[in-house]
Structure formats: C-alpha cells, structure tokens
C-alpha cells in the first residue's frame, strides 16, 4: 500500500474520470486535472467563481464545473484545453447541474426548482422541462444511459416522466400514488423504477419501464418510514433501510419481502464475527494486525490502531436520538451492495460507530466492524468484495472476507478523512478531507 503526498482540495470535490486515467480535483476556483498513476498536473483550468460541483462526462472528454452562487456552469475539454464553454443561468439561478449519459447535454436545475434547462453542446437547441420536483433524487438515468426518469409535481400530485435520452422525447408520463415523492432510482437492468415516498409514509412503488405499476410495498404505518434504498447489482434484490432500524429485502420476482435485517445494539449470535478497533499503545513495536501492512512511517502524534475480535455477546455504543427534532439520527442511513452481489454493508445511524456487513447468499449477518469514531462514509471496491471505510480520522480501514486492516495514512499534521472514492479498476482509492486529499495505491497481492 502506497500513499501519495497531500494535495490541496476544497469542497470534497475529487473525482476519478470514468475511463480511469485522470483525477480531477478542485481548489477554490481552480480545477486541477492530474494523471492517475503519477499524479502530475496535466491541466489546470480557472473558473469564474468558487466551484461547488464537478462532474466528468461519460466519455471522460469533458468536465463540468458548477458555481451555484453565480449561476454559472463552465465546461472544459480535456482534448482541447483551449475549448471553453460557459452556461449562464442569470437570474434564474442554479441549484443543481448534471450531465446527460451521452456526455453532450447538461441539465441545469434553476432556483426554486422552477424548471430544468437542457443545454446541448452539439446543437444550439435548448429545452425546458417544467415543474420538476424539489426532492433529493429527482432525476435518475438508467445504467445504459438510454432513459431518464424525472419526478414532477403538478397540482399537489406527483408524476414521473420518462424521457429517451437520445432525442429527449417524452416516452411516458404517469402519476404516482405517493403523498410526497422523496426519491426515484432505476434498477441496474434498466427495466424497473423504484419510487419511494416521504419519510412520513412508508411506501415504495415499483414501476416498469413502460409505466405500469408492478407492485407497492408498505411495511407499516405511522412511524417514520424509508430512509435509504439500494438495488443489488444484478437487480435481483432491493434493500430498503428505514427509520425503525431495519433493512427489508424485496425480491425481483414477486416484489415481496424475503427477509428483514435487524440492527440491535447487542449482538448475540455466535456465528457473527465482530471486529473492534482498539488503540495500540505507540510503544509497541511489533504491529499485531490481522494483515500487517507494509512498513509505514508513523508520525509521532497519531496512534496506531488494530482490530481485535470481540467475543459475542457484544454490546455496541448506542446513541439515543433527540426526540423533538426533525430528521432524527436514527435508522439505516447508509446502504450499499458489493459489486459481486454477495455482501450488503449498512450503517444504523443510532449506532454510528459500527458497519454491519450482511452475507446475501445466506441472508445472515456476517461481520460487524466497530470503530472508535463515527463512520463518515464507506464504499465498495468496483472489482472485488472489498470495503473501504473512513471515520473522520487519518486512518483508512479496509475489509474483505479474508480479514480487515486499519492503515494509518503517513501524513504530517492533521488529515481527517471525510470521504473516499475508489478508482474504477479497484487499484487505488482517493481519500478526501476538508482541505486536502491523497491517493492510496493498493497492490494486488495485499489485502485480498
């Protein structure tokens, strides 16, 4: 495992290009493009204002930088550094911006969600989509990039419009039986759209590509409902995490629940492996880790940590949420399937230090990782069942079915990792903190 040096970053905006050759990062108003292997600066672009959002186009030839305060989107080309494109929304304002799957259209959501403007880089045409819904995930593209689903709201009713991305033709327009649509997400096979309601109502609707309602699922009434959902990569399962600290898995044949995963504060099943992160005293020379990393230069001020296997029954640190506030920190907030469809990683927000890993083949709890600090984010390796976790300190944690390891990033000073991002080949991970980022290169023989 090798670590690169620290580079400046702002806004947690560090992204690998889809073809895996470049890494884009933002420093205030500058956009820096680096080569992935050498991290040399290949190109440097200057934008007009502080960049709030960047996105690579799907063919990795263009990158857009959105500046919401000024309402401007600037697009840069990697082939021709002289090429420039500036989209100014003016008084309409800008709230969100994204690429279309063909990499030639930009969808800007104006302020107050008045409309979505579709700017084309190929032609001079501009399209407007009225009444988009102001929700977290209102636009969803299918994985093959052919269709786009857009949530709309008219006359206090929710609608879904399906567009064909090649010519932006409206394919289907239908209403949904939701009170207040919260999000939409396509299944990876592009044939089923999951639509779920606000957290006041536990309701998830499944629509087919041609607009037919396939099924509705309601687990219970009155209590707070769905917090997060995730499709399995084979579209076989739909995992729904809710505020009652449970994950329910629906199967794609009958769209009925096949199992429920509970997240209690005490783990009693002896077959579950519980890894607990413990601080190692700095004087200990022999690094007794489950898979010892290569010799790293450890700084004086950060302590090493290792994983210990705790004996079941284990009781985890439980944080009682404040009852009066809205959006309580309770329930399953993070949910991710591994790319080989064998594991599901979840985080229960009132046990914020633990990551629960479920074995999907057996539909049982497999491993629980208990960290010292609260989990900030985790992401699966795009090639193999390997999970990278960061908890806001300067360590990165990797888990795979063979074991888990805690690695101290050998940096001077404070480096608090808030987010991470895998490279598409699974060979490297970008670790992002508030002001800096570094890239960690993993070797293939290492943690398998």
């Amino acid at each position: 495992m090798n670590f690169s040096e620290l580079f400046k970053l702002s806004g947690l905006l560090g992204k690998f290009s889809p073809d895996g050759k470049r890494l884009a990062s933002c420093v205030q108003y500058r956009l820096v493009i680096r080569d992935v292997n050498t991290l040399q600066i290949l190109q440097l672009y200057t934008c007009l204002d502080q960049i709030q959002y960047i996105e690579w186009s799907s063919d990795s030839l263009f990158i857009l930088c959105a500046m919401y305060k000024r309402g401007i989107v600037q697009v840069w080309s990697l082939e021709q550094p002289d090429w420039h494109c500036k989209i100014d929304e003016g008084s309409a304002g800008l709230v969100a911006s994204c690429w279309s799957p063909d990499g030639r259209h930009i969808l800007n959501t104006t302020e107050f969600h008045l409309r979505i403007t579709v700017w084309s880089l190929c032609t001079k045409s501009v399209s407007y989509i009225k009444y988009p819904k102001a929700c977290q995930q209102g636009i969803a593209f299918t994985k093959d990039g052919r269709y786009m689903a857009l949530a709309e709201r008219r006359d206090c009713k929710d609608f879904i419009s399906l567009f064909v991305c090649s010519d932006w033709q409206l394919l289907r327009h239908f209403d949904t039986e939701t009170q207040d649509l919260f999000g939409i997400e396509w299944a990876p096979n592009g044939c089923v759209l999951a639509v779920w309601d606000t957290c006041l109502e536990y309701k998830i609707l499944l629509y087919s590509l041609d607009g037919r309602l396939l099924s509705t699922y309601r687990a219970y009434e009155w209590s707070l409902g769905i917090k997060s959902i995730a499709w399995s990569p084979s579209s076989q399962f739909l995992a729904i995490g809710s505020y009652d600290e449970k994950v329910r898995i629906l199967n794609h044949v009958t769209w009925k629940k096949i199992t429920e995963f509970e997240h209690p504060a005490t783990i009693t099943n002896p077959k579950t492996i519980v890894y607990k992160e413990v601080e190692k005293s700095p004087s200990v020379d022999a690094e007794r880790l489950s898979f010892p990393p290569r010799a790293l230069a450890s700084s004086l001020f950060s302590t090493q940590s290792k994983y210990d296997i705790s004996q079941v029954p284990v009781s985890l640190q439980y944080v009682k949420p404040i009852a009066d506030r809205a959006n309580p920190k309770i329930g399953i907030g993070m949910l991710a399937f591994s790319t080989d469809n064998c594991f599901l990683a979840t985080r229960n927000d009132n046990i914020p230090n633990a990551v629960w890993i479920w074995d999907i083949q057996k539909l049982k709890l497999f491993v629980v990782l208990e960290q010292l600090c609260a989990i900030q984010s985790f992401q699966w390796d795009p090639r193999q069942p390997r999970l990278a976790i960061c908890t806001g300190n300067s360590k990165v944690y990797l888990w795979s079915p063979a074991g888990c390891v805690s690695v101290q990033v050998p940096m001077e000073g404070d480096f608090q990792i808030l987010s991470l991002c895998w490279h598409s080949s699974g060979d490297s991970v970008a670790l992002l903190s508030k002001d800096n980022f570094c890239v960690c290169y993993l070797e293939r023989e290492e943690v398998k």
Binding site: H84, D155, Q169, L200, L209, D210
Partner: protein
Amino acid sequence: MGDWKTVTVPVLSSDSKNIFQYTSEKKMSPPSLNTQVLRLPLPSSKSMHTFFSAFCTEENIEQSISYLNRELTTLGFPSIYAESKGKELNLISVINCMNELLVLQHKNLRAQEEVEMQHLKLGSDMDHLQNCYAKLKEQLELSKREIVGLQERDRQLQSKNRSLHQLLKNEKDEVQKLQNIISSRATQYNHDMKRKEREYNKLKERLHQLVMNKKDKKIAMDVLNYVGRADGKRGAWRTDKTEARNEEEMYKALLNDYEQRQKQLLMENAELKKVLQQMKKEIISLLPPQKQKPKERSEDGPVLSDLEEDTGELNKENMWELSCETVREQLTNSIRKQWRMLKNHVEKLDNQVSRVHSGALNDKDVISREDHELETEKLELEIQQCKEMIKTQQQLLQQQLMSPCDDDTTLLLQDCYLLEERERLQEEWRLFREQKKNFEKERRNFTEAAIRLGLERKAFEEDRGAWLKQQFLSMTTDYKHSENMTTASAFLGSSDQDNRLMNSTSQQRKPHCTLSIPIPAEPCQTSQCISHNSSDAASKKPAGDKKPNQWEESDKEETE
C-alpha cells in the same frame, strides 16, 4: 363414682343403744339417725378391731346371728343355722359362708382395682383428649385467621386486577384516540400543505413569468465551438417514426429482460425438478421391498395402480419438460408419499435398534453381530479379489497392447494406433518436405551465389591478367615515366580496373553468357600483384560473401 350409697343399718332392737351406721370407706356419711355414729372411713386394723367388736357383743349374739343369717339369706347364701328354725349354728355353712364372703371380698377388691385402673386410664385419656381438643381449637383459630388473611389478599389482588384492566382499557382508548388525532392532524396538515403548495406554485409561476419576460441577455450559453455528438451521428428530427422507434426499443428492452428472467427461472425449475426426480429414485431405492405392497394394492384397487402407472410415466425423461399443474402436483405428491414411507421405515429401524439395545431380539429382522461381521469380512474379501482381478486384467491388456498378437481385436487396436502414427508421420513428412523445399531453395541460392562468385572471380582474374599485362608493357616501354605512369596508370588502371569491374559486374548480371575464362595462371607471377589482388580479392570476397549471407538471412527470414 363419688356417690356412695349409705346403707342405714336398721335398728336391731329398740333397747340396744349401740346402734350404729355402716358408713363408706371413703366418705363421712350424711347425718345418721342415731347419735352414736361410728366414724373413720379407712379403718385401721385397730379400729377394725374395735369396729368388729362393736357390732357383736356378748349380750346381742343371738340377735346379731339372726341378723347375719337374714342378710346372708337375702344375699343368696345358704342359711348358717343348722336347721331352719334352730339356734344352733351350722359351722360348716358358716365357714362356707365366710369363705364365700372372702372370695367375694377378693373379687370385689379385684374389681375395685380394675375399676380404679380403668378410672385412671379414663382420666388420662380424658386429659389427653382435652389437650388435643385444646390444640385443635388453637389450630382452628389459626386457620380461621389465615383464611381471613388470604381472603383479604385475594380481594386486594382482584381489585388490583380490576384496576389494571381498567388502566389497560384506558390506555387502549387513549391510543385509539391518539391515532384518531394523528390521522385527523395528518389530514389537516395535508390540506394545509396543499394550500401552501398551491400558493408556492403560484409564486413559482409568477417568478417564472418574470424570469422569462425579462429576456435576460445573460441567460445564454457561450461556447467556442459546438462539439460533435458522442456517437458521431448527426442529430435527427423528432418525428412520429422516431417516437415509434423509441417505443419499440423500450419494449424490446423490457422483453429482453423478461426473457432473460424467464430463462433463468426455467433453468432453476429444471434443476429443481431433476433434483426431485433424483431424490425420488433414491428414496425408492432406499425403501426395502415391502411385502405389504400387494396387499395395499389389492385394498386400494384401481386408484393406486393408476397412480403407479402415472408415476411410471413420470419417470420417463420427457415428462420433465412439461410444466403443467397436474404433472407437477403428481410429482410432488409421489415424492411426499415416498418420503413418508421412508420416514416410517426409518422409524421402524430406530425402534428395532432401541429394542436391540434393551435386549429384546427379534430373530427375523435383526442380524446378530457375528453374522454381520462375517458378512463384512466376506464382502471385503470379495472386494479384494475383484480389485486384484482388475489389476491383472489391466496388466494383461497393457501387455497385449505392447506385444504383437494375432487376435483380431489387437490388430484393430494396432490399426488404430498405426493410424494415429501414420497421421503423425504424415504430418512430419509434410514438415520435412517443406524443410526440404526450403533447403533446396537455399541451396539454389547458394549455387547461384557461388556461380556468381565464380564468375566474378573469373572476371577479376581476367582483369588482373590484363592489368598485369599492362603493367608489364608499361614497365618495359616507359621506364622513366614508370612512377608517374604507374601512378597515373594506377589511377587509370584503377579507373580502368574500376571500369572493368563495372563491366564485370554488368557481366555478372548475365551469368549464363560470360564464361570466357581469363588467364588464371598469370596472377601468380607477381607477388605484389598477388598480394594486391588477394587483398582486393579479399575485399571482394567479403563483398561476395556478404551477398550469400544476406540471402541466407533473407532465406532464413523467409523460412521463419
């Protein structure tokens, strides 16, 4: 017991003054008729003496005797007089009477003792019973108190229970009320939300109008040059055709997905059916040949036989493909039936085993341990023999393959091997022929090169000869200008030589024509020339050699 009768002794005579009363032993008698009372309940021997003497004195003997006689006769004793009216005493009867009286006295004493004993016993019994009674009374009191206490507790608990029920009911009512409140509030909030949303929509519309009306020059896209489409094609107009095409594509995508899923499900189904069939076969094989089957068959008659036929049909392989309800049901039903039979069989075996453990042996069903061991040994021996046989057969087979044999089968086998070998040989021949061709080509090239070399050499020899001649001539004719001439001629000669070389090279190109052999003998005359020529030849040879080398290499390249 304390009531004693007092016997008042009747007055014997009015005259006697010694009238007394006979009192009891224990108590003082009630006031007597006469004043003179004889006292002492327990008369001592002395007092008895006085007592006895007091009854009969010398004066009233006759009276006392008659009195005694009267008493005795009333008591049933015979008279003490000798005769019925005589005054003489019958001594024998008196003694008998006395004896009788003594006996009576003894008897009475004994009876008294017994009575006293019984009295004591009864007294103690009474005490005992009194104690028991007292204790029982106490216990009764206690249990009564306890009962009262328990009743009290029971009452309290019941009241508590009632109160809890009441509480529960209240809670349930409250919950129901809260739910109603929630639902009503929810509807209220929804209504309010909708109202606010409508207002918000109106604001949005207004804002939208304003934004659009302003015709902000700023809202624009400033692009250096337009980029080509990602897929390289040109944009197309949106027409009905494209719409239809899009719909078609969408439906195609959906259908593909469904077909894939259906394929997967069919595969899974087929596998599961296979597994079920296998299970069925194995279950059937596990079940022992039951003798009761024909009985069952006869009982159930045509129904079972039909089922059996159907199951027989089911076992046919092509039935797997059908997935209609009835076939599926039949398969699962038959498996269930057979599984039940297997379960019964296993249970029976378990019972047998338990019976064996408990000691009750059944000769028919259970094989004794020694027999079992013998059988296993036999089987092991058989296995060993079979293995050895297989080994020997393998060896023989191998031997047969190795050595030639007259058998037809071995010939055939040999033929097969020969065919293989022949093919291999053919392959090798082909390769060999190719190589041969290549070698011939090379050889030809070499010969050509050699011929050319030879020609070159001949030409060179000619030149050399000519040059030598010239030299010789020049040497003989102009001796003075020899140096210059030689130099000039060297240059010239060299130039001539060059020219000749050129000619020779041009001659070389036609190997067939030039074969005018120059004077090969002449060059040996002058050593200088030889050395020169040899050096030239040497310089030429590598040049000449190079060419075949080059050709070799090129040939090599070709072959590679």
